[in-house]
């Protein structure tokens, strides 16, 4: 089956991370990252580290770089809020940090609780001094991950790519009250 742009980007991004020598994959799961996480878990060159909260990933990947390894932090926009003070570490020490953030509270959100953080993810990160890029079309995700990754590792700073909710589709809670998808 030929993959559409919507379904192909996790595979392409995984290949990109692998080729770049990313070894530590820090995650708090998100539906938008589900396929990419599965691909990383199957990849023997990568070590997936499940976190209890996203700020652990910021610290983990500082340690990874101290030890000579590259990493990536996969999280949902709500997790950005959990990271704020820990981001002082890569900012104060010029650690490269690649964050791929799937957006909630964004395009067609159903859950009011996602709005405060989702709607301010970008300005909050930028206020802190983190470089933020954003992508809203599936066919551009791979290229944007590639360029964001280069910014992080070539210029030694924390960089976030926000992957718009439009790409993943908003979760339909009402539909989920009728049936649970397989």
């Amino acid at each position: 089956m030929k993959k559409t742009a919507e379904s192909a980007w996790p595979d392409e991004v995984h290949a990109l991370l692998e080729a770049a020598g990313v070894r530590q994959v820090a995650i708090v799961p998100d539906a938008g990252h589900a396929r990419l996480i599965r691909l990383c878990e199957k990849d023997k060159s990568m070590r997936v580290v499940r976190l209890t909260t996203e700020e652990e990933g910021v610290a983990l990947l500082a340690g990874a770089w101290l030890g000579g390894e590259k990493g990536v932090l996969l999280m949902q926009s709500s997790g950005v809020g959990n990271c704020i003070n820990m981001l002082s570490l890569p900012l104060a020490c010029s650690f490269p940090l690649l964050m791929l953030v799937t957006m909630r509270g964004d395009h067609g959100e159903f859950n009011p609780a996602q709005m405060p953080m989702g709607n301010t993810t970008q300005p909050v990160l930028e206020a802190l001094g983190v470089i933020v890029k954003r992508v809203d079309t599936a066919e551009d995700v791979t290229e944007m991950v590639s360029s964001t990754m280069r910014l992080a590792f070539n210029t030694y700073r924390p960089v976030a790519l926000l992957i718009g909710q439009r790409i993943q589709g908003a979760k339909d809670f009402r539909k989920l009250t009728q049936s649970v998808p397989k």
Binding site: T52, E55, E56, A59, G63, W65, L66, G67, G68
Partner: protein, 196 residues
């Protein structure tokens, strides 16, 4: 009840003949303690990032599986990142030891009590999270046994060392983050670290 251990003596003993061990220290007193024992290129003392010391240790330990990684931090710092105990217990690095110097106080901010002053048992929490070895240390003999265990290098290790709540002169490490990071990487990875 015997006298409480003194933190700088404990740290000096743990770091004597450390060899090529990689050392991360939590902000505040633990950073001053490891510097008091002798500033070292393979020390990464924190000036902030409270709650992150153990996780930095995990990142280093996974990247350098052949090196011993020792995190020395305080009870307040560890309490701020308790989830890390679960994450580390699940990741099971064989080469990571976490040592908490527990004076039951926030020393840098005016000696306010932490939860460990009210019975919170960090070693018990580590054990419950799944650490193969977690202990509370109160005596010199136990410090010596802990040191042996740290450098024998088998398994993930957690130790909560009960220490006196003394106020000591600060011994400051360099505080510029890039310097601390770059000298650590250069000492560990060689000059090519600058071109990674």
């Amino acid at each position: 009840m015997s006298k409480l251990l003194r933190r700088r003596e404990v740290v000096a003993e743990l770091l004597a003949k450390r060899g090529d061990t990689l050392v991360i220290a939590g902000l505040g007193a633990p950073a001053w303690d490891i510097t008091h024992a002798g500033d070292h290129e393979l020390n990464f003392p924190l000036w902030g990032a409270m709650g992150g010391a153990a996780m930095i240790g995990l990142g280093v330990a996974l990247a350098q599986p052949k090196r011993r990684v020792l995190v020395i931090t305080g009870d307040g710092e560890m309490l701020m990142g308790l989830g890390a105990l679960a994450t580390i217990a699940v990741a099971k690095p064989r080469n990571l030891a976490i040592v908490v110097l527990d004076n039951e106080r926030y020393g840098e901010t005016g000696q306010q009590e932490t939860h460990t002053a009210h019975g919170v048992d960090l070693a018990g929490m580590a054990k419950a999270a799944g650490f193969a070895h977690a202990c509370t240390v109160r005596t010199q003999a136990e410090v010596s046994r802990l040191k042996q265990r740290i450098y024998s290098g088998a398994g993930t290790l957690f130790a909560q060392i009960k220490v006196e709540g003394e106020r000591l002169p600060l011994v400051l490490p360099p505080r510029e983050g890039s310097l601390l990071k770059n000298r650590f990487r250069a000492a560990l990875l060689g000059p090519e670290a600058a071109h990674q």
